[in-house]
């Protein structure tokens, strides 16, 4: 495998890590609006992700940085082409990021309400936008011979398929978040999270089916990559069916793993469809940017491979350790509430 191919895989891994980890904390952020009945429950929900959300977000930043370093043309075309989507993403992440820190530091109703909305919208918009973005990527975008993308807002960026992608991604993330809540809380909240997940179960399943059908209809994914995609989605279906009995039997750890795996499979499917391109041109297939066209030189990739080889295991080790330290359920006990 060439180093550029390895880095394509690594960026995929970074996005997978991001959707699995920040996926649940986005889901928890959404649940603060739908699941929590009072301020105390909101605080419990926020505290379940308190020690983690910041580091989870770093997966996205690292993916962005790695794109810049390993595939400058991918980074340049994608970020400038999706300009408005990234502006909205940034606004959402900014509002959300400070909200966790600011919310608990002052206690008037308006103050708390403002940051509650920031957490909710800041958790809702990013997964939706990323869903839109990824589905747009595999559908193809107006990339010219100069590698520039000049996309129209309606049609290229926002269309039936990408909106379906955004909504389905959102539903998966929410389900994943509910599973995390039932894993990390106790009592009534834990029960309600599980019940809400059971309600969401069917809707999410339908959503994923619609998404797969839409993918077959709007993209060449199955023609080009059917051999990998069909087994991949097949596994997702099996996991999804298995999830039902896990939910019924309140196997929280396994349910959480299942929703995470389904999210991962959907994310992996985007990268499978893209490969070996990083940007698919809807104007002319010869304008598509392959990972080889987009990649940095061999020297840069080698340097980064060595750095990643040394430090990724260290990062993973202390990340796992921090989850171990905060493994206990967050309950209505003032000892645990920080936000």
């Amino acid at each position: 495998m060439e180093l550029s191919e390895l880095w394509f895989v690594l960026i995929g891994v970074l996005f997978v890590g991001f959707v699995f980890l920040e996926g649940f904390d986005f889901g928890v952020g959404m649940a603060t609006k739908f699941l929590a009945k009072n301020d105390m429950e909101k605080r419990i929900l926020i505290n379940t992700i308190g020690p983690f959300w910041d580091a989870n977000e770093v997966w996205l930043l690292t993916a962005g940085g790695a794109m810049f370093a390993a595939f400058p043309h991918w980074y340049a075309t994608l970020f400038s082409g999706y300009y408005l989507a990234f502006v909205l993403l940034l606004l959402a992440l900014i509002a959300r990021g400070v909200a966790f820190e600011f919310r608990g530091k002052h206690n008037t109703a308006n103050w708390v309400k403002t940051w509650d909305w920031s957490i909710f919208l800041g958790s809702l918009l990013p997964p939706f936008l990323l869903g839109v973005l990824f589905t747009g990527l595999i559908k193809g975008l107006p990339i010219g011979a100069d590698m520039e993308m000049n996309a129209s807002f309606f049609g290229d960026l926002v269309n039936v398929y990408t909106v379906i992608g955004g909504i389905v991604f959102l539903m998966l993330v929410y389900l994943h978040g509910l599973m995390f809540i039932s894993l990390k809380t106790d009592g009534d909240l834990r029960e309600r999270a599980n019940r809400a997940a059971q309600k969401m179960y069917l809707a999410t399943g339908i959503g994923v089916v619609v998404f797969v059908l839409a993918t077959a209809f709007y993209t060449d994914a199955f023609t080009n990559r059917g051999a990998i995609l069909i087994p991949l989605y097949g596994v997702a279906v099996v996991l999804y069916l298995f999830l039902y009995s896990l939910l019924k039997n309140k196997k929280e750890g396994l349910s959480f793993t299942m929703t995470g795996l389904i999210l991962i499979l959907v994310t992996v499917s985007f990268f499978v469809v893209l490969f070996p391109n990083v940007m698919i041109s809807s104007i002319d297939p010869s304008y598509s940017i392959s990972l080889y066209d987009a990649a940095s030189g061999a020297y840069s990739l080698k340097v980064m491979t060595i750095v990643a080889g040394i430090f990724v295991p260290i990062v993973l080790a202390y990340t796992v350790w921090s989850y171990y330290i905060f493994r206990k359920r967050v309950t209505n006990n003032k000892e645990h509430l920080e936000y």
């Binding site: 770093v58 690292t62 400070v98 750095v307």
Partner: protein, 463 residues
């Protein structure tokens, strides 16, 4: 307005706004870690309370620093796509490595620090804040490594129509990085020292928690003096570096149009006439520029007109003179603010030595507005460094005007500029509001009970 101007305004505002928070994060993380170390070593509760109290400022500030940093990382691709294509091979790796080495460390251990007071053994908890502090410092190293490449490109060859890295070690030992890094770290420490010093002074004036704020003030004055002297000395090495590697920036910072002659005198103030490329008046100190440039009292410094001619030979027709007035005045504002900081921390320590610090009303009153001195110095230093580099985005390799995204319209940039400016303003207001609130509450907020009355679940702990 053109895309270029708007993209530049957006870059400048984002960078300057982000750089309000970064130095304080770096400096405060260190101070808080130092205070917690005193607690673990001396086993006195007051140091624990100190690290918690000052830790609140750190956390509020850090949150804003992080979110504005995300814009910083993404806007290279969003607004400067041609720049990103041209230098991504060299400029991207430091950013990616920063995320991997620094961001993960900071964000994971900050979580452990906030939520770990009662869950982690004391020493592990202390280690957490030191790792956060280390993370912030590492982060600065990689960002400055990337920025230094823009100031002084090294370790690359031009291949496939772009700059490609050929020596990673060169990038890490870039002379510009070696002079800029200590300067930035010392400046960060002064920023935290003067914030802690100023807030402590206010409380001492109000005679609140005298022991707590006296000790805080002394720590901050010691760090303040050491670091402000460090800023001055490392700044001097930067100036010497500029003369040899970025002579145009140095000449602009001195409003030096013609060659200085030997020995060179330093211009304190000048009336700059950029139209006629001349100064209407100037106040000079003889020999001083020679000393500033070479560390001795002789030596000639090249003027902008000479360098302009040299650059035209090298790079072809064009205007290679940066905005002179901005470069000149931002340099002077930085130096003046730095000098005041040395003076104030020196006076403060003398007062402490004579045991007069808590009662020196006049000095304490000075220390409150002095909170802004490091901000003024940091901002003007950053402006001088980046404006003085113009018209280059990568010195000698790529003009700023060639780096802008071709596919992004001015309307899109304008939208983002307004949206970001609005959110910056709101964040700044919220942050100042929270700072004032924390100051008014004081340390021991949980013990006086004001935090628990309205909220039965608050533990009054940091976070």
């Amino acid at each position: 307005m053109s895309e270029l101007i708007l993209a530049r305004i957006q870059f400048a505002s984002t960078t300057i706004f982000h750089f309000f928070f970064v130095p304080l994060s770096i400096g405060l993380a260190f101070l808080v870690a130092l205070m917690e170390t005193l607690y673990v070593v001396k086993k006195q509760e007051i140091y624990k309370e100190m690290s918690k109290f000052w830790g609140k400022f750190f956390l509020i500030n850090f949150a804003v620093g992080v979110v504005t940093g995300i814009i910083q990382e993404f806007q290279f691709g969003m607004n400067w796509s041609d720049y990103s294509r041209f230098v991504g091979d060299v400029f991207g790796p430091p950013l990616a490595i920063e995320a991997l080495l620094a961001f993960f460390m900071e964000s994971t251990f900050i979580g452990l620090w906030i939520f770990g007071w009662n869950r982690l053994p004391k020493k592990i908890h202390l280690l957490s804040i030191w790792l956060v502090s280390f993370g912030t410092a590492i982060s600065a190293l990689w960002i400055l490594a990337a920025n230094s490449f823009m100031q002084n490109p090294v370790g690359y060859t031009i291949q496939n129509g772009r700059a490609e890295m050929n020596n990673f070690l060169d990038i890490l030992t870039n002379e510009k990085l070696l002079v800029a890094y200590p300067h930035t770290i010392f400046a960060s420490l002064t920023t935290a020292a003067f914030l802690v010093g100023g807030i402590s002074a206010w409380n001492l004036l109000k005679k609140r928690h005298i022991e707590f704020f006296k000790r805080s003030a002394v720590i901050s004055l010691i760090i303040g003096l050491v670091s402000s002297l460090g800023v001055a000395f490392s700044g001097h090495t930067q100036a010497q570096y500029l003369v040899s590697e970025q002579p145009m920036k140095m000449a602009a910072a001195e409003a030096l149009w013609e060659d200085s002659g030997d020995p060179a005198s330093w211009t304190v103030i000048a009336g700059i006439d950029t139209e006629n490329k001349d100064n209407t008046f100037q106040l000079d100190i003889p020999y001083a520029l020679s000393f500033l440039s070479y560390g001795k009292f002789s030596g000639d410094v090249k003027g902008m007109n000479t360098i302009q001619e040299e650059y035209e030979q090298l790079y072809g027709e064009g205007d290679y003179i940066p905005p002179v007035k901005t470069t000149f005045w931002s340099f002077r504002i930085m130096v003046a603010a730095g000098g005041l900081m040395i003076l104030l921390s020196f006076i403060g320590l003398v007062l402490h030595w004579r045991q007069k610090l808590p009662t020196s009303t006049r000095f304490l009153k000075w220390m409150i507005p002095a909170i802004f001195l490091p901000y003024i110095a940091n901002t003007s230093g950053w402006i001088m460094s980046e404006i003085g580099r113009q018209p280059w985005v990568v010195n000698g390799l790529m003009l700023t005007s060639s780096g802008v995204s071709p596919s992004v319209s001015s309307g899109q940039i304008l939208f983002s500029l307004i949206a970001f400016s609005l959110i910056y303003t709101l964040l700044a207001i919220a942050m100042v509001f929270l700072f004032v609130k924390v100051i008014k509450k004081g340390p021991y907020a949980s013990e006086t009970g004001d935090a628990t009355v309205t909220d039965p679940f608050s533990t009054g702990r940091v976070g």
